[in-house]
Symmetry: C2
Subunit: 335 residues, 2 copies
């Protein structure tokens, strides 16, 4: 499994962290593969392709880690971690069609290898399969968590679509979008463990916030790296968001801070049908002038601190320390 | 609301039939509209457009009718009938993207008025919303019915995609596809009423079959009319299935029955990138020679008889008589 890419010095430490969760993560992978097998060949192939395409399994990792934090000793969290990954994968498949993406994590996207039709239908399959697995588990509260988050995600995606190419998008609107489209699933990944552990409502609320704030921080980092990571490091193509005219935080801040002349440059680039690498470099140039990378990552850090503080209600423990380190790993990633 | 189009002599009778269910159907429409309001504007607009685009509400109608058959006196069937319609609408939205359709029921499709992106995302929204509504109702058994059918539908759609342009598709494979992609939702529409009425398991099983057989019959009629209805009567464009190279029953039978020369003609048409009206006329010509329309509708009738016989376990009543008439109305429709 491809793990979050980090600065070299952090990598060993992160491996140690994961070794602690390794058994459960392997169980999740096994559960996922078992539940994709025996289906129609195209569904199995395409699902396997995307589920195993170097995904970071960050959300299942949070589910497992939170279960440990709550002292859970059962096995239900394996199913729930897998359900969360199914929902995530379904949204990736549909996202790639909506964004017309050709590459994700350095590999060709499923819609590019197969076609848009297959991606839409297999996405629907994974979403439905997630709910079917949940009915096997039998907890109405867990189904409510997943159906709520599933509505939120589609809300967030629609909002993102509406704000495409709208340079007047505010930072608040951006936060609202990423909260729905990303952070709520992180939140659900944590909350669902709280639910199966039956911890008290107060702690559930804090764990829910914990996930949400990591999600917001994570998405801000993701959106920032789309302007500032190097293609060869990540396998990811930088500049995608600009080409799709997505109003992410770096672009919002860049437009807000730019002077009249710079605003005109940005407007003229955004009005083009086909944004090229040269346009991208121009915008990154303006961003560098206004310290956008640093400021965006600082905002991510702000949310990661909120995440860590949300754990204040939990007693000190080795597990808690490890989870707090996990937050740093996720937010300090290089791609 | 646009109601199933029938031969003139049947129309009045059908109106009488519906007047008996009118109050509940109005409640379903109200429930649907209320649950689409207050969402993001694009979601509301697009959902309203498709939910109100002259849909025949056949599936909610079955839910309501089955609830009456089981002597139900509560109100939960309104939510479930609406959930069934949400699932149906979500699949329509995704289908139209997958098929690249421009028209449905004589109106422009949502993906044509807005775009594919919006249709994919609003489809996801409706599917998720259906599950959220079900958690409000709180029955795990109903959630299981819907999540099972939802997996079936995506299976069926994927299978349909795999068999595109495959002239060696068998009638059994076709029946398997339409069972998954269409009939299971008809079945769920009936079964869910059986579930909320808590009738005995045997009757549930029969009602489930009742819906399934209507669904198969309905889809066969639909696929047949795609070759034999007149455009001006239905607002539907005939010939869509051929243009999309879908292996529906008329084409399967036509290829099986055709002589060597006719088989070559069909193969050569199917191998074209762009099938034109003239090609369609040629194929319809071959179909007429082999009595395909009559035979397909006879097969539909076979399944509609199975549907009616499935109600044998229910005592004679005015309600049962009406439901049996409904089957005839649905299968004798003109478009």
């Amino acid at each position: 499994m491809n793990i979050v890419k980090l600065k070299n010095q952090d990598e060993n430490e992160f491996k140690n962290f994961l070794s602690w969760l390794e058994e459960d993560l392997n169980s999740v992978n096994k559960f996922i593969l078992e539940n994709l097998a025996g289906s129609i060949s195209l569904v199995t192939k395409l699902s396997n392709y995307i589920v195993n395409s170097g995904g970071k399994r960050i959300r299942p990792l949070l589910t497992i880690a939170c279960a440990k934090l709550c002292g859970y000793s059962g096995t239900r969290h394996i199913l729930h971690a897998s359900v969360i990954e199914f929902i995530h994968t379904a949204t990736l498949l549909h996202d790639d069609v909506v964004d017309n993406s050709k590459k994700r994590r350095g590999r060709k996207t499923a819609n590019y290898v197969w076609d848009n039709k297959s991606s839409i239908l297999v996405g629907d399959y994974l979403l439905s399969k997630a709910f079917r697995l949940l009915t096997n588990d039998g907890s109405m509260k867990c189904i409510k968590i997943i159906s709520d988050v599933s509505v939120n995600i589609s809300h967030g995606e629609v909002k993102q679509l509406i704000y495409i190419n709208n340079l007047k998008t505010t930072e608040s609107q951006y936060l609202d979008i990423i909260s729905d489209k990303t952070a709520q699933l992180f939140s659900a990944a944590c909350k669902i463990s709280a639910e199966i552990c039956e911890i008290d409502e107060e702690k559930k609320e804090f764990l829910s916030d914990f996930g949400k704030f990591i999600g917001i921080a994570y998405q801000i980092v993701d959106d920032t790296l789309d302007y500032f990571c190097k293609s060869d490091e990540s396998g990811k193509e930088p500049g995608n968001d600009l080409k799709e005219k997505k109003m992410t935080l770096p672009l919002i801040l860049c437009y807000q801070r730019g002077n009249t002349k710079e605003k005109r440059i940005i407007e003229s680039i955004l009005s083009k049908d086909n944004i090229i690498d040269d346009d991208f470099e121009k915008i990154v140039g303006i961003m560098e002038k206004y310290n956008i990378k640093f400021d965006c990552l600082a905002k991510a850090k702000h949310f990661s601190i909120m995440a860590k503080d949300s754990l204040g209600i939990f007693k000190e423990s080795a597990t808690k320390e490890k989870i707090i380190r996990l937050v740093d790993f996720l937010i300090n990633r290089q791609n």
